[in-house]
């Protein structure tokens, strides 16, 4: 009998079978990878293990006894911890306050701060996760925050640690550190479940692999006895090919930034950035999230005040102009945060698709809306982009991530703007939609438009971009043509290193 077992798990969401009689068996002290494409069922499976959801059928067995989990608190109480992609930390509190939250060592009715800090130091030292207990979380870089999340779980005596796509926000160097930590945790008896879709990482650190495809277990592999191709075949059912663009002669400069600097809280979050994007080329910006990419894009869009430098769109200086002026000068923007920024959940598809077009013909005539034209416009885009939605009047808040991303993409592409900024355009989107969106971006390129692509997925950038820039701490630290770039080199610059 295995240490941890998930037996015959079935979970259904409104008709879709997310987990189809899945069995998982994990041994003590093992690093077990759970792999699969977006939508294969890994997240659902792990959320059941962590008590976030109950399976429709099946059960869990841990250390020989059956587990009935009502909530993550139950899971934590039984020794199962999870570090998720979106961290849940108290920004304004210190590291130690975050770790001991709700299990505070006390002295009378007061919190024993000194003892808490000592405990945190000891825990960090024991597991090789150095951290400053007094540091304020708001000032910590992403890699350290993740360490904090791991320490939170260990403080609560987790014996099973689920890591959900942990390397998405790390530089390659930080990934290596994480792997060292994982191996030492496993060696000391902690069992680790690594949820990921990244092959090289799985090969580097895991002992065994369970591959999910379409909700079912496709394969169970032993890492030492398999290879990347076999894994890919198990994940997709066929060898994978990413769409790649063919080389092209770029046209005139459509988007240019000169010495762009943005300051926030006294810090230069964008530091003297200069770049150009020509018509018919895709320029990719690689970099770990939080190095100024979002602020750079906001400056290019006119959403943030520019401290120094300038932005030119098709030759026009738009540096201090409004967002509307930027858009009018030929700029569209697929925003990263589709729910909070790029759409209004309570508004209909018609309204969402009309935003940005609502002042000009055919949707408006002399300031008055043309309702019929708006609906026709919406229907056209929905059909063209194959968006699954009940009607044009349906509120977009009910749509799946992939469909909402399609709405955002459809709208922004409908501008037919000479310059397009795409920020994390395929985040959290199923495979079919990813392929579709990539196709659209390449089509834009064919039309001679200039595209600036910001993505945390190096594979996406390497596949689509003609030129690749690396951003680190607000500066552009390297530039490569696609042929000259590879993951290792990019990773080096993303972490702030330089090739000597």
């Amino acid at each position: 009998m295995a240490y941890l077992e998930m037996i015959d798990i079935v979970k259904r969401y409104s008709g879709v079978l997310a987990n189809d009689h899945v069995d998982l068996a994990v041994e003590r002290g093992e690093i077990h990878a759970v792999m699969g494409e977006n939508g294969a069922g890994k997240s659902t499976l792990m959320s059941i293990l962590y008590g976030l959801q109950s399976p429709d059928q099946g059960y869990l067995r841990f250390k020989g006894s059956t587990l009935l989990l009502q909530s993550p608190l139950d899971a934590i109480a039984h020794g199962i911890g999870m570090v998720r992609q979106a961290f849940r930390l108290f920004e304004s509190l210190s590291v130690w306050e975050n770790i001991v939250y709700r299990r505070e060592p006390r002295r009378g009715i007061f919190v024993d701060g000194a003892r808490a800090r000592a405990q945190v130091q000891e825990l960090a030292r024991r597991h090789g996760l150095p951290i400053d207990p007094m540091a304020r979380v708001a000032h910590l870089p992403v890699g350290v925050r993740q360490r904090l999340e791991i320490l939170k779980a260990l403080y609560r005596e987790a014996q099973v640690l689920i890591l959900d796509e942990p390397t998405a926000v790390l530089t390659p160097a930080e990934v290596a550190t994480l792997f060292t930590v994982m191996k030492s945790l496993a060696a000391s008896g902690c069992t680790i479940l690594l949820v990921t879709h990244k092959l090289n990482e799985v090969m580097a650190v895991s002992d065994r692999i369970t591959v999910l495809r379409n909700g079912r277990v496709a394969e169970r592999l032993v890492t030492a006895e398999t290879n990347p191709n076999a894994i890919v075949r198990a994940m997709t059912g066929h060898p994978v090919t990413l769409q790649t663009s063919k080389p092209r002669e770029p046209g005139t400069v459509k988007l240019e930034a000169r010495g762009l600097t943005v300051e926030q809280h006294g810090r230069r979050v964008v530091d003297d950035v200069s770049l150009t994007v020509r018509g018919g080329e895709i320029v990719g910006i690689a970099g770990v999230a939080g190095n100024g990419q979002s602020e750079l894009i906001e400056a290019l869009m006119g959403l943030t005040v520019v401290a120094q430098g300038s932005v030119y769109l098709q030759g026009r200086n738009v540096t201090h102009d409004s967002v509307a002026a930027h858009r009018a000068s030929g700029l569209s923007y697929i925003a990263e945060d589709r729910a909070r920024t790029a759409s209004a959940a309570a508004a209909s598809a018609t309204d969402n698709l009309a935003m940005g077009f609502h002042c000009q013909p055919p949707l408006a005539h002399r300031g008055l809306l043309q309702q019929k034209a708006m609906r026709k416009w919406a229907r056209g885009l929905i059909e063209q982009f194959d968006i699954k939605i009940a009607s044009v009047d349906t509120a977009v808040g009910t749509l799946s991530g992939g469909n909402l991303q399609k709405i955002v993409t459809a709208r922004e592409l409908a501008h037919n703007a000479p310059v397009l900024i795409a920020e994390q355009p395929t985040r959290g989107v199923d495979v079919g939609a990813i392929s579709f969106i990539h196709g659209e971006l390449l089509r834009e390129r064919e039309r001679g438009h200039a595209i600036l692509l910001v993505s945390a997925e190096l594979s996406e950038i390497l596949a689509l971009a003609d030129r690749i820039l690396v951003m680190y701490e607000g500066r552009i630290v390297a530039e490569f043509a696609r042929a000259d770039a590879d993951e290792a080199t990019l990773g080096l610059y993303m972490a702030g290193g330089t090739r000597s």
């Binding site: 993550p72 608190l73 920004e91 509190l93 939250y101 709700r102 006390r106 967002v323």
Partner: protein, 303 residues
């Protein structure tokens, strides 16, 4: 004339004026820290003020008045607790409607229970007695203001210190801060966000009830319609200015109380009372503008 401008009465008036705002602002501070935007301070204070007079009159004693003020305000605040903390309705809408409900209810009850409209006063009613702190009470200028006040005034000062310690040094204060800042994270670690919000709202109600008690029985003993006159809103402004940090909020309250007393003093010097009545509100607005401009300069404006 100037030598008597800031006399002992001035400071005494100031302290009396600060206290209800301070109590309400502490209620607002706790709400803000737990993640709720409590703009119903005005209404809860008014309910407390009315209940204090009603309780004291019908119950025949000051204690009855105190109990009624707190009880009524807590019951009233349970509407806010259920609507905002429990059901997660919109804070602003609930707050505004509670303020209006309080005004309507107290006016209605004034007419039906006391048979008068406008103001009710009863010379037989006892107000809050003043206590003397030996040594402090004999200080020049500030003696009466600091050393010869009723128990609520001293309670409000102790409250500021107590809340500061509670928030920063106790486990429950830490959990409360976490809930206010990142409810998802707090709940994931097992904090009962709903319970904290609910209890904080009720506690805030009690504090506002005491604020109302100070208003109606603290110096003169009477209730008049809408006697809170916007103090609850000034408390909201104080919480904003002080960024929900108890000491900073208290400092803001002192600022407003002083400007209120200043307005009264200027009235005594002959300035028309319509102008001087506006003093605390104008000062509040000016303080908010100055603080806002400073904030803008620090973080960098957004287009």
């Amino acid at each position: 004339m100037t030598y008597a401008f800031f006399n002992a009465t001035f400071f005494d008036q100031a302290v009396l004026g600060i206290t209800p705002i301070l109590l309400a602002a502490m209620a607002g501070t706790l709400s803000e820290r737990v993640g709720l935007f409590n703009i119903a301070l005005e209404g809860q204070m008014l309910v407390g003020a009315f209940a204090a007079v009603a309780g004291s009159h019908f119950g025949g004693s000051l204690q009855a008045g105190v109990l009624s003020a707190v009880a009524a305000a807590v019951v009233f605040s349970s509407l806010l607790a259920v609507g905002s903390a429990l059901l997660r309705g919109n804070d602003i809408v609930i707050g505004i409607s509670l303020n209006l409900l309080a005004a309507g209810l107290t006016s209605f009850l004034l007419r039906t229970l006391f048979g008068v409209s406008g103001t009710f006063s009863d010379s037989a009613m006892l107000g809050l007695p003043r206590l003397s702190i030996p040594g402090v009470a004999s200080l020049p200028l500030l003696g009466s203001a600091l050393g010869h006040q009723n128990f609520l005034v001293y309670f409000s000062w102790i409250l500021v210190a107590a809340i500061t310690v509670f928030l920063n040094r106790t486990p429950w204060g830490l959990r409360l801060r976490g809930i206010g800042e990142q409810p998802a994270a707090a709940v994931a670690l097992g904090a009962d966000a709903t319970r904290y919000r609910f209890l904080v709202t009720l506690l805030g109600g009690a504090l506002c009830g005491l604020a109302g008690l100070q208003l109606s029985l603290g110096s003169l003993t009477l209730f008049s319609e809408n006697m809170t006159a916007g103090r609850g809103w000034i408390a909201v402004a104080a919480v904003m200015l002080g960024r929900a940090r108890p000491l900073a909020v208290a400092a803001s309250c002192v600022l407003f109380g002083l400007s209120d007393a200043l307005g009264l003093r200027l009235q005594g010097e002959g300035l028309p009372n319509q102008i001087t009545d506006s003093a605390p509100y104008v000062v509040t607005l000016a303080a908010l503008v100055i603080a806002g401009l400073r904030q803008r300069r620090l973080t960098g404006a957004v287009t």
